[in-house]
């Protein structure tokens, strides 16, 4: 290969890379506001699904834990929404948990999971998730694991069901413990 050919190739590659870099910077700038807006809309949709009577969702942070404080139309706090994750069958399951003022579960939603399609993936269905509503930490066990348990596991997906149940319970226990301590 001649010297001239090498320099020519390097030059062309550099020009094309620079052009594409410039183009991408422009695309990034134009799409960024839209992407952030979509993220917010989606976040709000999930929050509203958990707390249908919530009017405002304010992002807060306490001891390094991020959560949403849910306000009703009279600007009173009616609950909080936390995000937690739990190890399932195919990796971590990301769960959003709404907790009402009495320390009970208001509702939960699966944000992300990697469970087996058709089996573990059924944890995202309302049939399973609606069982969590109004439950206290003591009741958050699978029926087959503990006699106090009030959660029915999905057929063929015990590990995924247990992961969600345990994850939500552990979060609830942690939050309730903290609240008691701060009240004393």
């Amino acid at each position: 290969m001649k010297k001239k050919e090498i320099i020519g190739g390097v030059l062309i590659l550099t020009i094309i890379t620079a052009l594409s870099g410039y183009l991408l910077a422009q695309v990034y700038k134009t799409t960024k506001p839209a992407i952030e807006k979509q993220k917010k809309i989606e976040e709000e949709k999930v929050n509203r699904g958990i707390f249908p009577d919530g009017v405002e969702f304010i992002e807060k942070e306490e001891n390094g834990v991020k959560y949403f404080s849910v306000l009703n139309s009279k600007k009173e706090e009616i609950g909080k929404i936390f995000t937690t994750s739990s190890l399932g069958y195919g990796g971590y399951i990301k769960i959003k948990v709404g907790i009402d003022k009495n320390g009970k579960i208001k509702g939960i939603k699966i944000l992300q999971h990697n469970e087996t399609p058709g089996l573990g993936a059924k944890i995202t269905e309302d049939k399973f998730l609606s069982q969590f509503k109004g439950k206290t930490a003591e009741e958050l066990y699978l029926k087959k694991d503990k006699s106090e348990g009030r959660i029915d596991a999905i057929t063929g997906a015990t590990i995924s069901s247990r992961a969600v149940t345990d994850g939500v319970r552990k979060l609830l226990e942690k939050i309730n413990k903290k609240e008691v301590r701060s009240e004393n």
Binding site: L13, I16, I35, Q38, E42, P117, G118
Partner: protein, 200 residues
């Protein structure tokens, strides 16, 4: 400039990327379990393929052959990133479901294959037609496969329940092996139709 519409048609039927060239099977296995995701994937591939074929054909005379592969990859990566940002802005749900397979279009062999085998040797219009044809061929293939897989594996199409409530889903269909089974049957059907056509 000679324009030949055969370039458009051939990607859809005779040289269909999935059923004939057997390229791009990896994203196909991953996202063809749901009709909605596959349509998203198909549209992304059409856009990237047409864009990269156009650009590669445009610059084919300036690019020395020993740096052509890195140049093609840069061009493809640029279009994939544009698609990635745009999809995130338009439909975050499809964007999330496609996950890592969207950026992986960069290394999808259909796209580099068309750039190397076609666009780097042909004029702009024909290259665009070729890109559109192959992209639409891919989309049709992934659409048919996902239709069969979602219907049998989940009893739904686009999330709507089609099969009765008592239908027991054929689980293997929404797992990756199901995609292989469906592709196998469809390739056999296509071959059968072509053979019959030759006999007549």
């Amino acid at each position: 400039m000679k324009i030949d519409f055969k370039n458009f048609i051939k990607g859809i039927w005779r040289e269909n990327p999935i059923f004939y060239l057997m390229l791009g099977l990896c994203p196909l296995l991953a996202v063809s379990g749901s009709v909605r995701d596959s349509l998203g994937m198909g549209i992304a591939v059409i856009f990237v393929l047409t864009g990269s074929n156009f650009t590669v054909s445009l610059i084919r005379k300036f690019v020395p052959s020993h740096v052509r592969i890195p140049v093609f990859i840069v061009v493809i990566a640029t279009f994939v990133t544009i698609t990635d940002y745009s999809l995130a802005a338009i439909s975050p749900q499809i964007h999330r479901n496609l996950g890592v397979y969207l950026p992986l279009i960069v290394v999808n062999c259909i796209i580099l294959g068309r750039a190397e085998a076609y666009a780097s040797k042909n004029n702009i219009i024909n290259s665009i037609l070729d890109g559109l044809g192959v992209g639409i061929g891919f989309t049709i293939a992934i659409f048919i496969i996902s239709l069969i897989r979602e219907l049998l594996g989940n009893g739904t199409i686009m999330g709507h329940q089609i099969m009765g409530a008592n239908y027991t889903p054929f689980l293997i269909m929404i797992m990756p092996p199901g995609a292989f089974l469906v592709i196998g049957f469809l390739v056999a059907i296509k071959q059968g139709i072509e053979k019959r056509g030759k006999k007549c």
